[in-house]
């Protein structure tokens, strides 16, 4: 795997192929999150780590088990089980090591379509091991970028008066739309 190719996959994941803002994967936690940039960064970091571990496990599962035994139709269930296992293990480890300062996020990471979407996407693209790790890193960092930027936008919106019809979700969606347009410019 060439270095240039790897960098390109990472950059694509962060910018113009951004999971939350361009492909709508994991957009619900993005729109629903409340709290400052620090909280957003921690959440983004947790998602990135879970994505890396999931991608590292999903690749051998796909190539060594599902493809060899012709069990392609079990792919979705297998990947969901992997994501659940990774999330619950991570929760255990974090609760031991950090006294739960990150643990509260884990149920939403298990229900984040970006993590599962990444595993399915890597299999569909036919990436090799290092390429799928690069895709995981790019997707995770891109999700973190979107979360941190959006938390700033959200805190500004919360200070302003918004018309009743647009209050809450619609105005956040409009802000996300502008951010999505910015990312298209990198194409």
């Amino acid at each position: 795997m060439e270095f240039k190719e790897i960098m390109l996959i990472i950059l694509a994941g962060v910018l113009f192929n951004n999971f939350a803002l361009e492909r709508f994967l994991g957009v619900t936690p993005l729109l629903g999150s409340r709290g400052g940039a620090g909280k957003a960064a921690r959440m983004g970091l947790a998602v990135t780590i879970v994505m890396l571990v999931t991608a590292a496990l999903a690749w051998p599962l796909q190539t060594l088990v599902l493809d060899k035994l012709n069990l392609g139709y079990l792919q979705l269930l297998a990947f969901v089980a992997v994501v659940l296992a990774v999330v619950y293990l991570a929760e255990l480890i974090v609760n031991r090591a950090m006294h739960g300062s990150l643990g509260v996020y884990f149920p939403i990471i298990a229900l984040n379509s970006a993590v599962l979407g990444l595993a399915v996407d890597n299999a569909a693209e036919g990436y090799g091991f290092w390429a799928s790790m690069a895709a995981a890193l790019g997707a995770g960092l891109g999700f973190m970028l979107a979360l941190v930027l959006f938390s700033g936008v959200q805190s500004r919106i919360d200070e302003k008066y918004v018309h009743r019809a647009f209050r809450g979700l619609p105005v956040s969606l409009l802000a996300a739309s502008i951010m999505s347009m910015v990312l298209v410019a990198f194409k």
Binding site: V27, G32, L76, V104, P107, I108, L111, R164, L173
Partner: protein, 217 residues
């Protein structure tokens, strides 16, 4: 995972259902056909997983509910995926990875969890209504984006609109805008929404941002 207030809110609050299903609602509404495809798939998954969870709900211990709900939903999504691949391959091709990603969708998960221990009929009815309003909203959004974005409807070209089409609407950013306007319109007509808005924020923060209240920065 969360209190009952949230669960009861999904069925009553169409905006909340749309919010939880935001990923497929925006990704697959570039045309009427993929929108109807994912909508019907969602309706099927909702009803079937609600039926199973309402029957199994009491047998599953409290601690294992979250993974059990996720696996049941993922199983039904796989089944729908295989059926769609067999009988509607063209529509299946339009779904991309979004049908698979829907296995961990918060809307399905919420409806499945809501059905744990609920009566069979009540769970079926509630999830059917949730699914039906989801299909309707998606169909409206898909039609708007297809007619004004690519000057066609369900794949049939509308030549008189050809010069006035707005390709922006078929892009991701356009999806956000159309979704925002659709929800704003629902908010306008829904008189009870004055009450529901703070609840919506709390519920959304409750499930989506699972940090307990008062944690924060």
């Amino acid at each position: 995972m969360k209190d009952n207030k949230f669960r009861a809110a999904i069925a009553k609050n169409p905006v909340l259902a749309l919010f939880l299903g935001a990923c497929p609602a925006m990704a697959l509404t570039t045309g009427l056909i993929p929108a109807l495809g994912i909508g019907c798939a969602a309706l099927l998954v909702l009803v079937l997983s609600a039926a199973v969870m309402s029957l199994l709900g009491k047998a599953i211990p409290e601690k294992a509910r979250v993974p059990a709900c996720i696996l049941v939903v993922a199983g039904f999504v796989s089944i729908v995926q295989l059926f769609m691949n067999a009988f509607l391959p063209a529509v299946y091709g339009m779904m991309g990875i979004y049908l698979a990603a829907a296995a961990v969708n918060l809307l399905f998960f919420g409806a499945a969890e809501e059905s744990c221990g609920a009566g069979f009929g009540a769970a079926l009815g509630r999830s059917f209504m949730t699914g039906l309003s989801f299909v309707l909203a998606l169909a409206v959004m898909g039609a708007i984006r297809e007619v004004f974005g690519s000057a066609s409807i369900a794949g049939v070209a509308l030549p008189f609109l050809e010069n006035y089409k707005i390709p922006f609407l078929t892009q991701s950013a356009g999806g956000f805008v159309v979704f925002a306007i659709l929800i704003a319109v629902i908010n306008c007509f829904d008189r009870g929404e004055r009450q529901a808005q703070p609840g919506f924020a709390a519920a959304a923060a409750g499930l989506v941002d699972a940090a307990p209240a008062g944690e924060g920065e």
